[in-house]
């Protein structure tokens, strides 16, 4: 530990030198070599002996990760790097590559300013490369590129220098295309990568060598020489001549922004408060003396220490004993301990300040996405906008313990798991006895079950159902204007629903429209998106499943007093649609008029909430509602002779092929596939291609299910939930004057 201690104390000193800090992450498609590369960086940091780097995968410290050879949980580490006589502190966050864990990538991105995107030279830019790069750009995280596994081009594919150059150029072109498509206006040109500028590195993480054009020139190494060395099997010396960490860390230090530079443009994007306020200015300037502003990006349960909340401090500082306030949980805490990360170790330190990553103990209610401020700044603190996830949990399984008396234990571990992984939705319905886990894909759920068993001490036997797809209810045309009365008949509401336009839904998904912005700024954003002023200015609520409530009434007396109750009724209705109790999505709900009892005792929540719900459901049912099913984007990489088999397999499963591109000996096929058709795809794909296809799926969008499918879904779901077989009629929810 003494070496670790020494490094830690140097790191602590550097925390004050903001321009020498880099908060970065490494992101990639699964198996493109991210963790292997990270280990190679650790060697240089003196945290791992050189001989085992490349095999040890230090960051993969969960047993499950080691076994599967993939990274599941995000780990953090700080390293030191010297460049041109100056020492830099690099706070590094490792992220999982499998698409089922994209949610964790998104959260990690909030904490970092720059990212090294790793792309496998053989497989090139893949579905997940696109997903994570898009997420990074959306969070204004600047990317640089590392093209890995160049050795395989030489040894396995036996390409010559010219062919290798064509392949590398194609990867860079494809990557820059992603930046052009998904980058923000201000950055998309500036952030394009270019080997000549030093924003692209090439190498082999496994063999721990790598270079940028600049380094190669300085060291006088030509690419043809590397090819020769591999051909002669004399490549072992490359690690000394072109150490990988040097190429990567030089690129990071020179081309990724420090917190002072990055927070200037990232804060206005990720924080929707008033920039001219004290907190706004403190965060913009990374002021260690200002009020503390931090966003929690990861929470984990430590069996000994309890909840560990990790995140990025944007302003101020955190010390043990500090009084802090969680804006979302609305709760004040005293910080028990402050720590920094060194791989699998959490090292307690006295204090961490703005621009750094910190782990805090003692904040039981902290969750990923939570905003933390110093207790004396809690008044009026605008929370960081909730992190938007590109993926959504679209697959559900029911779980139950084999021995019924172990139910309390199961509930206990389910709650713990949902704290650690916000993308895993657990729902416990004590009335029906249904215990559900929803995740992003089959693998995500498989791992979740594994964790449940482990957390319970390994002896909890769990029975799982076959996976079920999660659906949404929506509409494609406006519903009728309906009137709904409160149960006591004393208050009346006139309500109409209509489909929310795609543009607005996209704004919500990108985080450009969020409830935290407040009514005024949501109004400005919607007006720019083409909404009529009257509607744009009167947004009452924006619900998690992309439903918007608009107040279009004029001068209704007492309406302000029932506003919150009406919103609660709106949210309640959106949670459980009338078709089969699935959430409603993409609805614009307009409150057109209301007549309220003038006496507050006659218009409490028990009156207003049911009326809001009745009116919404009544209009919705009159609108010709539809079922939306989740659709995966699928990417398959396969040798040309199997292309026909893969194409017909996807088409047979109601899928669509959107592109097919020859990339060297492999063809990359992309398309869409309904999630419900993806079960058992592994086996089908194996048998269709004799196991020669590499493929990935990632949630992409919701789409209207064909009538036959939708009928079946409604019937099955209603039966499973013990509902009567018939969808209720609109008239059940509509009152007559």
């Amino acid at each position: 530990m003494s070496k670790l201690k020494k490094i830690t104390s140097r790191a602590i000193k550097l925390m004050d030198v903001k321009k020498n800090i880099r908060d970065i992450g490494i992101i990639a498609h699964i198996d493109h070599g991210k963790t292997t590369m990270t280990d190679s960086l650790l060697t240089e940091a003196g945290l791992l002996s050189p001989t085992i780097a490349g095999r040890a995968r230090v960051l993969d410290y969960l047993e499950e990760e080691q076994k599967r050879g993939i990274t599941i949980k995000t780990a953090n580490i700080s390293l030191l790097h010297e460049e041109e006589g100056e020492e830099y502190l690099i706070n590094l966050i490792d992220t999982p590559g499998h698409v089922d864990f994209t949610g964790k990538v998104t959260r990690a991105l909030r904490a970092i300013d720059g990212a090294v995107v790793v792309v496998d030279a053989v497989e090139e830019v893949m579905v997940q490369t696109e997903t994570v790069t898009r997420q990074a750009l959306n969070e204004l995280v600047k990317p640089v590129l590392f093209i890995n596994k160049v050795d395989r081009l030489i040894k396995e594919l036996k390409l010559n220098a010219e062919e290798i150059q064509v392949k590398l150029a194609r990867i860079i072109r494809d990557f820059n295309n992603l930046i052009a498509v998904y980058g923000e206006e201000d950055q998309k040109e500036k952030w394009k990568v270019d080997p000549a500028e030093g924003t692209v590195a090439f190498g082999s993480a496994l063999h721990r060598w790598g270079f940028t054009v600049d380094i190669a020139k300085k060291k006088n190494v030509k690419f043809s020489e590397i090819i020769d060395l591999y051909k002669k099997e004399q490549a072992d010396g490359l690690v000394d001549r072109l150490p990988l960490h040097e190429a990567i860390l030089t690129m990071v230090v020179k081309h990724l922004p420090n917190p002072l530079e990055a927070q200037r443009y990232r804060i206005p994007k990720v924080w929707k408060g008033e920039i001219d306020s004290g907190m706004g200015q403190a965060m913009l300037k990374v002021d260690p003396e200002g009020g503390t502003g931090m966003v929690i990006t990861l929470t984990q349960m430590d069996p000994h220490a309890g909840l560990v909340a990790t995140g990025r401090i944007f302003s101020g500082s955190v010390k043990g004993g500090d009084r802090v306030y969680l804006v979302g949980a609305k709760k004040e805490y005293r910080v028990q301990q402050v720590a920094m990360y060194m791989g699998a170790f959490r090292v307690p330190v006295e204090k961490i300040d703005a621009g750094n990553i910190a782990a805090l103990l003692g904040l039981d209610l902290a969750r990923a996405g939570e905003t933390l401020v110093s207790a004396d700044h809690k008044d009026g603190m605008v929370p960081f906008e909730s992190i938007t996830y590109v993926s959504e949990p679209v697959i559900t399984i029911a779980v139950e313990p084999k021995r019924p008396k172990e139910l309390p234990r199961l509930i206990d571990v389910m709650e713990r798991l949902s704290i650690e992984d916000p993308n895993l939705v657990t729902s416990i319905n004590k009335e029906t006895g249904e215990y559900l886990l929803s995740g992003m894909g089959e693998l995500h759920l498989e791992i979740a079950i594994k964790f449940l068993r482990e957390y319970a001490g390994g002896n909890l036997e769990i029975i799982t159902s076959k996976p079920l797809v999660v659906y949404r209810e929506s509409t494609q045309s406006p519903g009728a204007v309906v009137m709904a009365k409160s149960p006591n008949k004393h208050s009346k509401f006139w309500i109409q629903v209509e489909p929310l336009d795609d543009k607005t839904i996209q704004m919500i998904e990108k985080g450009d429209l969020a409830e935290q912005m407040g009514r005024k700024r949501m109004g400005t954003a919607l007006k720019e998106a083409g909404w009529p002023t009257k509607e744009a200015r009167n947004i009452w609520s924006l619900e998690e499943h992309r439903n918007i409530l608009v107040d279009m009434t004029k001068g209704v007396q007492y309406l302000r007093e029932v506003r919150d109750m009406f919103i609660a009724g709106f949210r309640w209705a959106c949670q459980n649609g009338p078709l089969c109790d699935e959430p409603i999505r993409g609805l614009k709900v307009k409150l057109l008029d209301a007549s309220l009892h003038e006496d507050p005792v006659h218009r409490g929540p028990a009156q207003v909430m049911p009326a809001a719900r009745r009116g919404l459901l009544g209009s919705f049912l009159s609108s010709d509602p539809v079922i939306l099913e989740p659709i995966y984007k699928i990417g398959v990489s396969v040798a040309s002779q199997w292309v026909g088999e893969v194409t017909s397999l996807i088409t047979r499963k109601r899928g669509k092929i959107t592109a097919s591109e020859q990339k060297g000996p492999l063809t990359s096929i992309t398309g869409f596939l309904p999630v419900s058709e993806s079960f058992g795809l592994s086996a089908d794909m194996r048998s269709a291609t004799s196991g020669h296809a590499f493929w990935q799926t990632a949630f992409d969008h919701w789409d209207k299910a064909p009538a036959s499918v939708s009928k079946e879904v409604i019937a099955e779901t209603r039966e499973r939930r013990g509902m009567s077989p018939e969808i209720p009629r609109a008239s059940k929810f509509i009152d007559q004057t």
């Binding site: 409160s486 008949k489 009892h597 006659h602 409490g604 929540p605 009156q607």
Partner: protein, 232 residues
């Protein structure tokens, strides 16, 4: 005395009698609509039995039940009577109290509200101590279910109401129209009302119990009690 047959007006009547008021008439307003802001609608036909069991003459006045207009109907009814004041069961609804006060002022009558501003929980406990028998005949708020219809107000029901108040902020005595009751027996009743036939209606978020047939029986006669829970 304004009477609806529910627990509040019955309790107010009890207080009026105990306080020595000479209650000359029971006045019952019969609205034609179900959304009147002022008057009880449900089972209003049973006020006849209520009056009979108390031996006080009843005056019934039909009203359309349209907001504000219905007040004129009340005024008309009251103006024909030779009385000095009007007793009502208002507890917390300023809307009802103010409107009655206004009519009284115009007619030169005194408005008497024995229950006004009293603690709802105390009032419910008082009903229990005084051995009122009141059943729930209608529920009109979130949190209630079909099974509430026909329940007699007991300490268990009071406990369940407290729970709904905590969860949905209903008024404990149903002053916001959350639930309605029918008094079947009271200290001042000479005979008690027995429900012979009733039907329950459930409309998703609200429901009511319609009394189709009821009659007066001697208080001591236990054989005549009907099982309203069995009605459907």
């Amino acid at each position: 005395m304004l009477i609806s047959g529910g627990k509040d007006s019955a309790l107010a009547l009890h207080h009026a009698l105990v306080n020595g008021h000479n209650v000359k008439y029971l006045v019952s307003m019969v609205p034609q609509r179900d959304d009147s802001w002022m008057f009880h609608h449900l089972n209003i036909h049973l006020t006849d039995l209520f009056a009979e069991s108390t031996s006080i003459p009843i005056v019934k006045q039909e009203t359309a039940g349209v907001r504000e207009e219905e007040l004129l109907d009340l005024k008309t009814a009251l103006s024909t009577l030779r009385i000095e004041g009007v007793v009502s069961g208002a507890v917390a609804s300023t809307y009802q109290k103010h409107r009655i006060e206004k009519i009284c002022e115009e007619l030169g009558l005194k408005s008497i509200t024995p229950l006004w501003n009293r603690n709802p929980l105390t009032l419910l406990k008082e009903l229990l101590t005084l051995k009122f028998k009141a059943v729930i005949t209608g529920v009109f708020a979130q949190g209630f279910s079909r099974s509430w219809l026909g329940r007699e107000i007991t300490s268990k029901v009071v406990k369940d109401l407290l729970d709904l108040k905590r969860r949905f902020q209903i008024s404990l005595i149903g002053e916001g129209g959350e639930y309605e009751t029918l008094v079947l027996d009271a200290p001042f009743f000479e005979k008690k009302i027995d429900i012979v036939e009733s039907e329950r209606f459930w409309k998703g978020e609200y429901g009511y119990l319609l009394v189709k047939k009821a009659r007066l029986n001697e208080k001591a006669d236990p054989s005549a009690s009907a099982d309203i829970h069995g009605a459907s």
